[in-house]
Symmetry: C2
Subunit: 262 residues, 2 copies
C-alpha cells in the first residue's frame, strides 16, 4: 500500500548500557539507529534512514531523544508507537510519534538540547545505581561547582571541552544553563545548550567534579575556554551517568526527567 511521502517524528527513550551508541556500527555491535531502522523497515516495508537530534555515545542513555524519518508507504499512524514498542527490544522504547512538517529534521530543526548527568555521591557504590549513575566518593563543594558552571554559560568556543573535533563547522556553542542540585545521595547536573560538541557534556561534568573536589580552582574556567585545547579541561566523566533528556523545537519540547534508582 503506497501513499504520499511523509515525515515522521518520534520521541525515543533508551537504556544505553548495552549499545555501541546511536550511530550504526557493524554487527555484533548494537546501535540505537540500527534497531530502530530494522523495525521501521519491517513495519513500512521500505528502507528507512533515521536522523537523530543527538548522536549519543556508547553507554549514554536517553529519555527525550528525538528522531525523524521519511516514509513513502502508509502505515496506520495512530498505531505506530504501539507497533514500534511491540517490536523493539526492551532497552529501547518510543514515547510518542506523529506526522511532522515535510521539512522537519530532528537534527537541524532543534534549537536546544538538554542533558542530565547523575553522580551517585556516597562512600560506597550502589548495585542498583551502577548502570545509571557515576559513583563519586570524594568530597564535593557544590557552591564551587556552581560558580565554575556559571562561567561556562553563554556563547563560547568550547573546543577545550571537545573530545573529537567536528569534521567541519565551528566549535562555538551557546550554553543556556548549567544547574546543579542534590537529591538524596545524587548530584544532578542539568545542561542546556543550542548544541553539544562530542563529549562536551561529560567533559564539563568531569571538570566540575574536579572543582568540587578541590583539585581545580572554580575561577579557572575562563582560562580553560581560552586555551582552546582539550588538555586544559578535566577528564571526560563516564558515559553511564549521562542522559539526553530533551530536545526543543518550535512546536515540541521532548524533555522527560530521568529517574533516579537507588
Amino acid at each position: 500500500m503506497s501513499g504520499s511521502p511523509k515525515t515522521i517524528r518520534a520521541v525515543v527513550e533508551y537504556d544505553g548500557t548495552d549499545f555501541c551508541g546511536l550511530q550504526y556500527q557493524p554487527p555484533p555491535l548494537r546501535s540505537i539507529a540500527a534497531e530502530l531502522e530494522s523495525v521501521l523497515a519491517k513495519l513500512f516495508h521500505e528502507r528507512i534512514k533515521i536522523t537523530a537530534a543527538g548522536r549519543t555515545d556508547a553507554g549514554v542513555h536517553a529519555t527525550g531523544q528525538v528522531i525523524s524519518f521519511r516514509c513513502e508507504r502508509d502505515f496506520p499512524l495512530e498505531r505506530l508507537t504501539l507497533a514500534l514498542n511491540a517490536n523493539l527490544p526492551p532497552d529501547i522504547s518510543v514515547r510518542e510519534s506523529h506526522v511532522a512538517a515535510d521539512d522537519f529534521s530532528a537534527r537541524f530543526s532543534a534549537f536546544e538540547r538538554r542533558y542530565v548527568y547523575h553522580t551517585y555521591h556516597a562512600p560506597m557504590r550502589s548495585a542498583l545505581a551502577h548502570r545509571f549513575a557515576h559513583h563519586f566518593y570524594g568530597s564535593l563543594d557544590l557552591e564551587k561547582m556552581r560558580t565554575a558552571a556559571a562561567a561556562l554559560v553563554g556563547e563560547h568556543d568550547f573546543r577545550s571541552f571537545c573530545g573529537e573535533l567536528p569534521e567541519r563547522g565551528p566549535t562555538v556553542r551557546t550554553v543556556q544553563a548549567i544547574d546543579i542540585e542534590e537529591r538524596r545521595e545524587f548530584i544532578v547536573v542539568n545542561l542546556r545548550a543550542d548544541g553539544f560538541l562530542r563529549h562536551m557534556a561529560r567533559t564539563i561534568v568531569g571538570t566540575l567534579l574536579e572543582v568540587g573536589n578541590a583539585r581545580r580552582q572554580a575561577g579557572g574556567m575562563h582560562d580553560i575556554l581560552a586555551a582552546r585545547s582539550r588538555e586544559a579541561a578535566g577528564p571526560t566523566a563516564p558515559a553511564h551517568g549521562l542522559y539526553l533528556a530533551g530536545v526543543r523545537y518550535a512546536d515540541l519540547d521532548s524533555f522527560k526527567e530521568p529517574l533516579l534508582l537507588a
Copy 2:
C-alpha cells in the same frame, strides 16, 4: 592469621536481573549467595556459608537484604565493606558490615521484612524502567486496591498467596501494613510482615492489580484467604518489580527506599 570466631552481619544491595536468585545453583547460573561466599572465602581464607534474611527469587532486587556468617580468621573489619565492594561484581554491593552478637542469625533474629513493589503505570512501556518496574497499562483504581489491601493486614493463613509451600511449618503470617502510593507514573506498594511465604509479596500485588483493574472485587480478599488454595488468588506479579527493601532486628532496621525520584 587466626583469631576468635565471630559472627558478622552485612547489609546487601543488588540488581537481581542477572541472578538466578539468592540461593546457590550450579554454574553457569549466578546466585547472590555464591558471589558473596566466593569473595568472603578469598578475604578470610576459609570456607564461609552465609545466611540471608530473605530468600529472594530470580530477578528480585534488594536494597536492604541482610546476611550473616561465622568466620574463624581475622580480617581488618573496619575495611571489610570496602574490600567486599572492591571484589564483588557491579550488580551486588554491600552498604555496611559489623560484628554482631554471637548468636545472631540474619534469618532467625529478624522480626520484620519489608518489600516494595514498583509498577510502571503508563500506556507505553519505558526502556529505562524495564529492569526495575512491572509495566501495567490498564486502568487502576487505587482506592479499591487500598480497600482490598486492608483486608489482608493482620494474622492470617496466607496459603492462598503461597507459590510453593514451605517444607515444614505453618503458612500463617502477620502482615503489619500494605501501603499503596502513586509517584509520577509509578504505583509503589509497600508490604511489611513478620515473614513472607514464597511468592507471597508478588501474589498479593498481582491480586491487588486485578482489583484495581476491576477484574476482581475489592471485597473478595476474605474468601481468597479462606479458600487456602493458590487457585483462589490472582497471578504472581513479575519478579523485576520487587525489592527486598529492609529487615528489622532488635538493634537494626536495614530499610532503604528503592526510590524513584521524579
